[in-house]
């Protein structure tokens, strides 16, 4: 016990200086990929890593606690690529450039938002590559039975049905234009009550299953919906911002690395919301490792 601990400690003491050198090596020929700290970002960074490794790059991945931490290293080039979200990144750069109260520039229109994003990103030395088809947007789910019984596939259907529904979601939902207010004003849905159970939380989903609420606020890549017997009603009037997964890269680095863009664009052209949701399920429910899941997917699609 003691000897193995001593050995481990010694190894750690040797490893620490190595970690320091690894941390300093980001500016060289290496590619540093970052994402935030949740399963979806974990999978995205591993997908980027696998396609770039395959293209001959020497990559490393870091999953960081918040976007604020990697934004400035990304501009400086210490970080090469971030796994990001179209509208969230657009608004983050918008706030940075124009202040917290700046008018919103992101929208449900993917192409328009991408144009806005690249306009803002250019000033910071960043470029948004091709967004994936896959999208992690806010959405509203009902039980499959409720949808079938009332012939609902879209939020407009629910508005037209005249049904009164109780809503579950984040505590700020009643005031938000993309949440309860939008459901009422844009879709004409009659909301009879609200349960502040959180965005996409287990409690929000349990309430739907048990009939406490009839509609709940969830994410489009929630891997548990199908198994819980829940289904998302389509946002046919585009209440939600486009939140496609998009690689943000350092522009200086991109100049000499067209083949990296090509590899990432190829992935974005293939990756769908359903694919991403299935991969999240493999990690969060089957407890497979994100790196293994990402590689298996890319092999299956012939991308590596």
């Amino acid at each position: 016990m003691h000897t193995s601990l001593v050995r481990r400690t010694l190894v750690a003491l040797v490893a620490i200086p190595l970690m320091f050198t690894a941390a300093c090596g980001g500016g060289g020929g290496k590619v540093v990929i970052v994402g935030q700290k949740f399963t979806e970002a974990d999978i995205m960074t591993q997908l980027y890593k696998a396609v770039l490794d395959n293209a001959g790059y020497d990559t490393s991945v870091k999953n960081l606690g918040a976007r604020d931490i990697y934004l400035s290293p990304l501009m400086k080039g210490d970080v090469t690529i971030s796994a990001d979200y179209l509208s969230s990144m657009t608004e983050a750069l918008n706030r940075k450039a124009n202040g917290d109260s700046a008018p919103k520039v992101a929208s449900a229109d993917e192409q328009a938002t991408l144009t806005q994003l690249n306009k803002l990103a250019k000033k910071d030395g960043l470029t948004a590559l091709e967004p994936a088809k896959a999208e992690d947007a806010n959405a509203f789910a009902v039980t499959q039975k409720f949808a079938q019984d009332n012939h609902l596939t879209t939020l407009s259907d629910l508005g037209a049905s005249g049904l009164s529904v109780k809503l579950g979601g984040n505590s700020d939902c009643p005031q938000r234009a993309d949440c309860q207010k939008g459901l009422e004003d844009t879709y004409g849905i009659k909301v009879s009550g609200f349960e502040p159970t959180g965005f996409g939380s287990q409690a929000t989903k349990d309430d739907l299953v048990h009939g406490v609420t009839q509609i709940g606020s969830v994410g489009t890549t929630d891997a548990t919906l199908d198994k819980l017997g829940l289904v998302i009603l389509a946002d046919d009037k585009h209440l939600q911002n486009a939140e496609n997964l998009v690689p943000i890269v350092n522009s200086d680095w991109l100049k000499d690395n067209a083949k990296a863009k090509k590899a990432l664009d190829k992935l974005s052209a293939v990756l769908t919301t359903a694919d991403l949701t299935a991969m999240i399920g493999k990690v969060d429910l089957d407890r497979q490792k994100a790196a293994d899941v990402a590689k298996a997917y890319l092999k299956d699609k012939g991308l590596i």
Binding site: I16, A23, A66, I69, P73, D284, R287
Partner: protein, 232 residues
Amino acid sequence: MLASVAPASSDNCLTRNDWICGKYYSSRAGDLTDALVQHVGIVVVSVLLGLAVAVPLALLARRYRKLEGVIVGTTTALYTIPSLALFSLLVPVTGLGVTTVVIGLGLYSLTILVRNILEGLRAVPADVRESALGMGYAARRMLWRVEVPLALPAIMAGLRVATVSTVALTTVGAILDYGGLGDLLVDGTRTNFKAQVLATSVLCVLLAVVLDLLLVGLQRLLTPWTRTEAAR
């Protein structure tokens, strides 16, 4: 909880989300070892860094009464800075690497170390100091041959608290993906992965106990006179 409502494709302790799961240990042994090694390394380097900074600060505080308030006040106030804020402040200067985590944790350890070193030196009886002076000890020799040895129990007590608290604090390094076991713990908590939460928590506690015992052993080695006294 997720797994209980959602039967997964294959039934095993991983998909059942058991607290204790052999398949977890066998499939993640490498990850756990890497995380533990990183954790030990970060703790050791952070505390050593803290000690290297705390000793001169404590000596300064003892020598110049006016500085004492500033030094003790500042090192105490450091502890109140939220880790997310501290790391975010350090990142532009020290980058996204382990350096930032080590510096942050080293700063946090100052709160305990500076106070204990200062108190330890203060507690050296005045007559002992006078005797040493009478025997012709110069200031520096008196510090290392008389005062530091007598202050060692207090210093070691501080070092033990600082080490154990750094074992726990290292997990916040997960913000920068350098949290040792904390990286796995955060992932486990977020995805309700019970086997991972339990394994990393137990390893953290064991690590703290082992490091504490090692320091107790070190203290016994360094202060043999306290043992003979106890035996009397």
